[in-house]
Symmetry: C2
Subunit: 488 residues, 2 copies
């Protein structure tokens, strides 16, 4: 599948002609189309349906912001260097690769003992490893000439939202809860990333911050999702080494106090809906509760939405954190601004609490590709949901003569004018062309043949069952748009 | 207008609660909506109509790439420090501010003489300025632990395209010319930016690279734009101090050799069309040919598309550069990869040439706001083209009683479900609500009144002439979508 993804222009290693740099990937022409569609779907969920505000703030941030947010102190990777060759690694990765065990969140002293006990070694030269130490995972830079003003590339888009809280709250005109999203790049200067597109140094995130009165964590539309079934892997079960998943409805999860509040449960359910909508099968989705040691410094409860993959096992595709009043309190303290609101419940000024549904975009994209890849004896194809197919329709002249190419070009132009991502292909046999279209998940292919020249009809071939129907050219774009909408 | 833009959530100074950092702006909820619409329109031009491939590559780039591209040596700002207080400035900015003269592109020795002759001083303390020196304007960082691997934030998105040329050319299956675009952040570590949103350290760009056989610079659809009238400010006229603009059709501009080739002329015309489509008036658009001293190191001919503004004078919103084979040749040389193609014309291997239409997104957004701002005696409003209005329709209950709010909420939900960015507002008099909607350019406002409760009709009020019509609730979303499409 990765070979296909590279060959056909979904995902390319970045800086390839210079030997590549680990942790960076390009999205090629098909990958960028797919990525834009995922982002658009996410906006549909959060900006249109939830009615959240979207903002767009810089990737470069001055040090003050990230000192206040705790990232200068806490956004660190436990790192280890080989005593022999000097290569540096993330100790959690090495341990997982060499022992199969996850030591994320383990205290540093225990990690040292773990490495010793399990004889974790340098994967390059088998040398012994030194003591574990912290490495700040933010890319550092300087703003302006000289190095007076330290800056970092943002580790998350969320901080750009928190520091705008006053203006955003005014924009919301006092209404609570209100949500704000940002879609953009986040950065993590990984030590030696070795999991391809799963562990990127630069990634696209879509984050939502839901601000609410700590006395009122209700979601106005909770009833719509309260019945959604969630598969939870509770922290307690993980700590006791149990693989057991707890299946429970979102409403029940709140009542049983498995989930901190209604807002969190609502967004867990919405996340499940979103992943299903991307075409991820329900049985490949679970929510893993982070154990206290695994949680980020700002969170009092975190759920990782995970998708099962063949290549990388369970992959975290979204994290839902209860950030409490941590961020706003810290920014209020460091900036000396009043970031309180008036709480009707408490009849006094309070600091808003925050529930944060934070999504990766690159990882779900990878999961969609893997889960849609079908390799049958006769043919290989991507069973992407039709609305996500990067190329929506292929247009083929049956033969390269008898005015068929000209006619096919006309059809191609008309489909593009109708808003469809159409691709013209006249190279090789019709079978080869269907195969090429299948491979990138194109749901429909239109063929212009002899009969077309006589009666203005074409055949439409369906990717999933290879069936064909003959339809009129007039209104073809709408015919295909209806097919994509109706059968996806 | 800037006060309005800040107050209503278009543009906010970044990191405001920490005192702000020059050269960084946030797009608030309305600004982000508008920005996304501009990007979407740009995609319509370049990805859908021109059929260019879009890719998405990292913001962080390793030094090798930017050494090859020439940016490590040439992407520099002429800088000067105050001898008294140590403050640093871009000498071109200081000179423009204090003398009104543009010395961009002047050799360094002449700049030194200019500063002396015109007594350009430190704007902070009036101290004398030191010698002019070069400052590399890229943000520098390190990739991975230690500082072994130097990286920079990309100064343009274009390099991500050039280094993928081999894969892209395969994707285009040998077809020439072919175009590739990238939309994303670009960075310039300005010395002391003081022109607000016009001179940003981090900005959004939309760049297109058109690869062509140097023997064939024809555009297949040139005839469609050959008649487009262009207003050119030729380099020769600038050098002779003449303000004269040359008005000429795109086709004529090629024939008279005012413009290097047909591709360049085509994209000049397309840029004009795009700017008109954004709502910039034709008389506020001109194309300024850069003089040899002003051109970037990679360009043999550059046209700046400029828009006239009240606040900042003529503002460059796009740059169209004939990059020749510079970038591909350099990358071939530095990476030792074969980046040639087979030219049918020359019957041998050649390196593709490139014409680059490169657009800013932030600056056109500013220009749209300024050009659409109407301040009349009776009211102020943004006469944005309707399709660009961030909020497309306001929904108001006439009174906050008699089931009007409930009915209005229903209408609001139905409009959002119909894909419209609708905003509910029940605060203050109807007049106040119209005024608030006018101020942010909302083209239509729907009011739910007593009659609505009886016959399911509402009034739609038009922003531009404040006229009102009464229509049925059923199909309201489509009614408004048609109004936005038809009357924009």
């Amino acid at each position: 599948m990765m070979e296909l993804a590279k060959r056909r222009g979904f995902i390319w290693p970045s800086f390839e002609i210079y030997g590549g740099v680990a942790g960076f990937y390009d999205f090629g022409p098909l990958g960028a189309l797919l990525k834009n569609k995922i982002i658009q779907k996410w906006r549909e969920y959060y900006v249109i349906k939830e009615g959240f505000f979207e903002i767009d703030s810089p990737n470069v941030m001055p040090e003050e912001v990230l000192k206040a947010s705790g990232h200068v102190n806490h956004f660190v990777d436990a790192m280890v260097e080989c005593q022999k060759c000097g290569a540096a690694f993330r100790v959690v990765d090495l341990s997982r690769e060499q022992t199969g065990k996850d030591i994320e969140g383990m205290p540093k002293e225990e990690m040292n003992q773990f490495v010793k006990k399990h004889r974790v070694r340098c994967p390059n030269c088998s040398g012994e490893l030194g003591k574990i130490f912290d490495f700040n995972a933010m890319f550092r830079t300087a703003i302006g000439p000289g190095s007076q003003r330290v800056g970092y590339l943002r580790p998350e888009t969320a901080q750009g939202i928190f520091i705008d809280f006053k203006r955003l709250q005014r924009h919301a005109r006092g209404k609570l809860p209100f949500g704000v999203v940002q879609i953009g790049k986040g950065y993590r200067n990984e030590i030696s990333p070795r999991q391809g597109i799963i562990r990127l140094r630069e990634f696209t995130m879509a984050e939502a911050e839901v601000f609410f009165d700590p006395d009122d964590s209700h979601h106005p539309k909770f009833s719509e999702l309260a019945g959604e079934q969630l598969r939870l892997w509770l922290a307690g079960d993980q700590q006791h080494g149990k693989e057991k998943l707890t299946e429970v409805m979102a409403g029940e999860a709140v009542k049983q106090k498995l989930v901190c509040n209604e807002l969190m449960a609502y967004y867990l359910a919405l996340t499940k809906r979103f992943l299903l909508d991307l075409g991820i099968p329900g049985e490949a989705i679970r929510f893993r509760e982070q154990t206290p040691g695994q949680r980020a410094h700002y969170s009092s409860e975190t759920w990782d939405a995970e998708v099962s993959t063949e290549r990388f096992g369970w992959v975290e595709v979204a994290g839902l954190a209860y950030r409490t009043d941590y961020d706003l309190s810290r920014h209020a303290q460091f900036s000396k601004e009043d970031l309180t609101i008036f709480s009707a419940g408490k009849n006094k000024k309070v600091i808003c609490h925050v529930v944060e549904p934070s999504y990766g975009i690159d990882r779900p994209l990878y999961c969609m590709l893997e889960h849609s890849y079908v390799s049958e004896k006769k043919r290989k194809y991507l069973r992407l949901k039709k609305e996500f197919a990067p190329i929506e329709v292929g247009v083929f002249p049956l033969l390269n003569r008898d005015r068929m190419p000209e006619k096919a070009r006309e059809v191609h132009e008309a489909l593009r004018a109708g808003g469809l991502m159409a691709e013209y292909d006249d190279s090789g046999s019709i079978g080869r062309r269907y195969a090429r279209a299948d491979e990138i998940g194109t749901p429909y292919c239109v063929t212009i043949d002899h009969q077309t020249l006589e009666d203005d009809t074409v055949t439409i071939r369906n990717r999933d069952d290879t069936s064909q129907v003959r339809v009129g050219i007039s209104g073809l774009a709408n015919t295909i748009i209806d097919l994509i909408r109706g059968c996806s």
